[in-house]
């Protein structure tokens, strides 16, 4: 393994617990990751030593809290290569996608415009668009997913061809298939077809597990979430091109995001504050800052290399079991740590329940990707996902549980 997983494992307290008398094997990091001790300490440190509100306090405590909050913005910006004022904190990736939908899509698109997205998107990236379409009436086009779990980019080119696509929403890494999409390539294609096209990327599954440089991708918006990248719940971010952000009206309004308020109206603060209404997620930002430090210390290229090794072993192991077939790309180089599979004749719910009895946590269901489920011709899948604290010892319990499910539920 590329770094010392055994040492790292000790940083994640939940991993040392047992369930049903078995060692816990956590294979659900695509849903939410475990949180390492330094992150818990950072949040605790805020609560125990400088618990106060940010931004407006003239006292020492408030300055310390503000430093934690703005320091986290600086760290996150550095992680994704973005300028600080292009990072807006949100409660999760879903709010980040909604910010784009409300402050850009709903303010710029009309019935004659076209939006391009894909069949493999998470609901967070498409439902805000479907909802906006109800009010605005634009057209949505869908890039299909090929048999091998990759986006059909030839079809994408055709869908872009008439130059009418003004907004693209695409995921960086699929939470179901694991597919890593060529978002830089798609952005370039979209801009070539229409130089004014705005590209929004859902990077929720990418940032935790590989190096990401948002400006280098050439995209306008990039959404991410803290709880999948070793950070706490309750915080996410929208990374955006500052020049674009500056032109956008706010979405959530209230305290902290105004310049002035009279009974006649309000004027808006500069970015990124304009998009952060109300008391922000202060402890959560402190935690996310520590998570960024934690990931940076290991190195995201190391995380990625580690996952690729694991994924190769998991794919091999899974396909050795009769009746199992894996969705998505076979080549670990083309994919992230989420592996969806089916087991012939056994419903995912039953797989999940059986695995739980073996101490193995996997996610079963539609994974908030109903259009993709329809495309795959299933109602649900079982999904095992690995992260930096998993190792090869986590594979045998999974396989054992699957064998048991196959024999127990076979009709």
């Amino acid at each position: 393994m590329s770094f010392d997983v055994q040492t790292r494992k000790k940083d994640f307290p939940t991993l040392s617990r047992e369930v049903h008398g078995r060692r816990l094997v956590y294979l659900d990091s695509a849903a939410t990751s475990q949180t390492p001790l330094p992150v818990l300490d950072a949040m605790d440190g805020y609560y125990r030593t400088c618990r106060s509100n940010v931004h407006r306090g003239v006292y020492q405590l408030a300055e310390e809290a503000t430093d934690l909050y703005e320091g986290a913005r600086r760290k996150l910006a550095a992680l994704v290569g973005a300028p600080e004022h292009g990072v807006v904190f949100t409660k999760n990736a879903t709010e980040a996608c909604n910010l784009v939908a409300y402050s850009w899509v709903r303010r710029n698109l009309g019935p004659d415009d076209v939006v391009l997205t894909t069949h493999m998107e998470h609901h967070a990236n498409i439902v805000p668009l479907l909802h906006a379409r109800e009010d605005l009436g634009f057209e949505i086009r869908w890039i299909p997913v090929r048999e091998d779990g990759q986006l059909d980019l030839e079809e994408a080119a055709r869908l872009l061809d008439d130059g009418r696509v003004r907004f693209v929403a695409v995921g960086h890494v699929s939470n179901v298939l694991g597919t890593i999409n060529d978002v830089a390539g798609i952005a370039a294609m979209a801009r070539e077809a229409n130089p004014d096209c705005i590209v929004h990327v859902d990077g929720t599954q990418a940032v935790p597990q590989m190096p990401v440089d948002v400006p280098a991708l050439g995209v306008d918006f990039y959404a991410l979430t803290g709880h999948k990248m070793c950070g706490p719940t309750g915080i996410g971010a929208l990374v955006a091109r500052p020049e674009l952000l500056e032109q956008m009206p706010p979405f959530l309004t209230g305290g902290e995001m105004i310049l002035d308020v009279t009974t006649e109206g309000a004027t808006w603060a500069p970015i990124p504050g304009r998009f952060e209404a109300g008391t922000p997620m202060i402890a959560e930002a402190a935690g996310l800052g520590a998570a960024v430090d934690y990931l940076t210390e290991i190195g995201l290229d190391e995380v990625r290399a580690h996952e690729q090794q694991l994924v190769a072993a998991f794919l091999e192991g899974l396909e050795r079991i009769e009746g199992v077939s894996v969705h998505g790309p076979r080549d670990p180089a083309l994919r992230g740590g989420a592996i969806s599979f089916k087991l012939d004749g056994v419903h995912p719910h039953d797989i999940g329940a059986m695995l739980d009895s073996y101490g193995v946590c996997v996610r079963v269901g539609h994974h908030c990707t109903k259009p993709l489920m329809r495309h795959l011709g299933v109602n649900a899948t079982a999904r095992a996902s690995v992260y930096l604290y998993n190792d090869l010892d986590d594979l045998p319990p999974l396989l054992e549980g699957l064998e048991a499910a196959a024999s127990f539920f076979a009709r």
Binding site: H20, H347, P348, H349, D350, A353, M354, D356, S357, V364, G365, H366, K370, M373, V378, N379, A380, F408, F409, R411
Partner: protein
């Protein structure tokens, strides 16, 4: 909570050899289609009424062992009952799934085997899918409609 609480032998029997599972029903009066938003499972239920009672009832669809077994056990318990009585029994089952004691364990027949499912909150919806579809089919019949489609949380 162990796996055995959930997968009792009676449940597995209904899962492996479901009763009244069929894609159509002769003389069908009502057809309802229900789905479970949690797992995407879908169920078609067809009802034939005679003399204000459940004369025929079949289910079809895809789902986990619990939802399939529960629908199967439900049909056995419900066929032959008056519509009102069947509704009452469905309500009894629903209460049982929310942790209350059944008032009609003898009438639920194999349905009582699902009592343990109440301890697995995410599976409660699976066990209820067939029963809630039956309730809806009867209510749809009573309002004079023939078809009803529901995606529901209960």
């Amino acid at each position: 909570m162990s796996l055995d609480d959930l997968y009792q032998e009676i449940i597995l029997d209904h899962y492996r050899s479901p009763k009244n599972r069929a894609p159509s029903l002769e003389g069908e009066d009502v057809h309802v289609h229900h789905s479970n938003p949690l797992c995407g499972d879908e169920m078609d239920l067809r009802l034939r009424v005679a003399d204000n009672a459940v004369d025929g009832l079949v289910f079809d669809g895809e789902g986990c062992s619990i939802s399939q077994a529960s629908a199967s056990a439900m049909t056995v318990a419900v066929i032959g009952r008056t519509l009102d009585d069947a509704l009452d029994l469905a309500e009894d089952f629903r209460r049982m799934m929310h942790g209350e004691e059944s008032k009609r364990p003898d009438d639920l027949l194999d349905g009582v085997a699902f009592e343990g499912v109440a301890k697995f909150p995410v599976r409660v919806k699976c066990a209820l899918l067939g029963w809630m579809a039956a309730k809806d089919a009867i209510e749809t019949y009573l309002t004079g409609e023939r078809d009803h489609e529901v995606t529901h949380d209960e």
